[in-house]
Symmetry: C2
Subunit: 156 residues, 2 copies
DNA sequence: ACACTAGTTGCAAAGATTCTCAACTGGAAA
DNA sequence: TTTCCAGTTGAGAATCTTTGCAACTAGTGT
């Protein structure tokens, strides 16, 4: 056994002890049952850096538990989206892609040529949104702001 | 021939002379070819009050020209959405429903209890969006801002 | 009016997403 | 721990949406 693996194990334990229960507790509080498929899907979403679509999530999931079905992936994504735990990006007719909602909310700028998703955040805009909603007699539960753009300096 | 039909014809002419060419010219300016299927679909969208889905639009279209295909309806909806000429509402897993965009661009506040859609517009936000995109090196082609909220004064 | 070509169309097939339903299970209550 | 049942799941059918391709056509230029 090599030393490096010890640190790996410690990191995994930290992860298991701190991170996972965090959002599972959150979800239970919201009345969501933590089932085996859901736990696996949540882990995938938590540990990924990219914005996978349902099929990609499904493939990663069946490597952990090959009994999970694609329907369940879709159902779980819809559930988590409604709860605000993930965001859905529908790009250019292609399949929806998902991303875990970080503690901090952020908005998206989508490159319509490449599909790249850039995250950004603007307190000014958030504040304006609150003002507008209030003036319409509403309280904002969540929002979605997507800018679709094209690189300024790209070679024609 | 009855008198009433004369007024019908005049109304139709007014419509043909004023309304239709309006947005057709707009679209042509944007480099969109006005084909027979597109003209029919545009007419349907213009003259409807509800938010039909693709299948409903298709059925109305084939009553006018039964050679139109469902694919073309979908393609046209995607095209018009990209141009900002219509808005797509994906409600609760069901099929997408469409609505003609008024001349002015507007954003949406969606009541998460009733599903009601309220339109609004804020130059300040639009301006901020442009600034943000520019600072990220992008030019905005279009955007989508949706606030999901709940009435402030609703009885608990 | 005619020819030309890039953009569109219809169709059928593929791909993405939701639905139906009988079997299963998380977690509350005893 | 065991029971119990509302909520969840897997499988596949159904529905919704996009795509590939050969035929067609709007709009430009002659």
């Amino acid at each position: 056994m090599q030393l490096v693996s010890i640190w790996r194990i410690i990191a995994a334990m930290k992860h298991a002890l701190n991170h996972k229960p965090d959002y599972e507790k959150e979800l239970r509080k919201a009345g969501v049952r933590i089932t085996r498929p859901r736990r696996i899907i949540l882990d995938i979403l938590t540990s990924t850096e990219d914005h996978p679509d349902a099929m990609k999530i499904f493939h990663r999931a069946i490597e952990i538990d090959n009994s999970i079905s694609l329907s369940t992936v879709y159902r779980t994504m819809n559930l988590l989206e409604e709860l605000g735990a993930i965001h859905r990006h529908a790009f250019n007719g292609g399949p929806s892609r998902f991303e875990q909602a970080h503690g901090e909310h952020h908005d998206h700028l989508i490159d319509i040529d490449t599909g790249a998703v850039i995250e950004f955040k603007s307190d000014k805009i958030e504040k304006l949104q609150l003002e507008i909603a209030k003036s319409l007699g509403y309280d904002i539960v969540h929002h979605r702001l997507e800018l679709y753009g094209r690189k300024l300096d790209r070679p024609s």
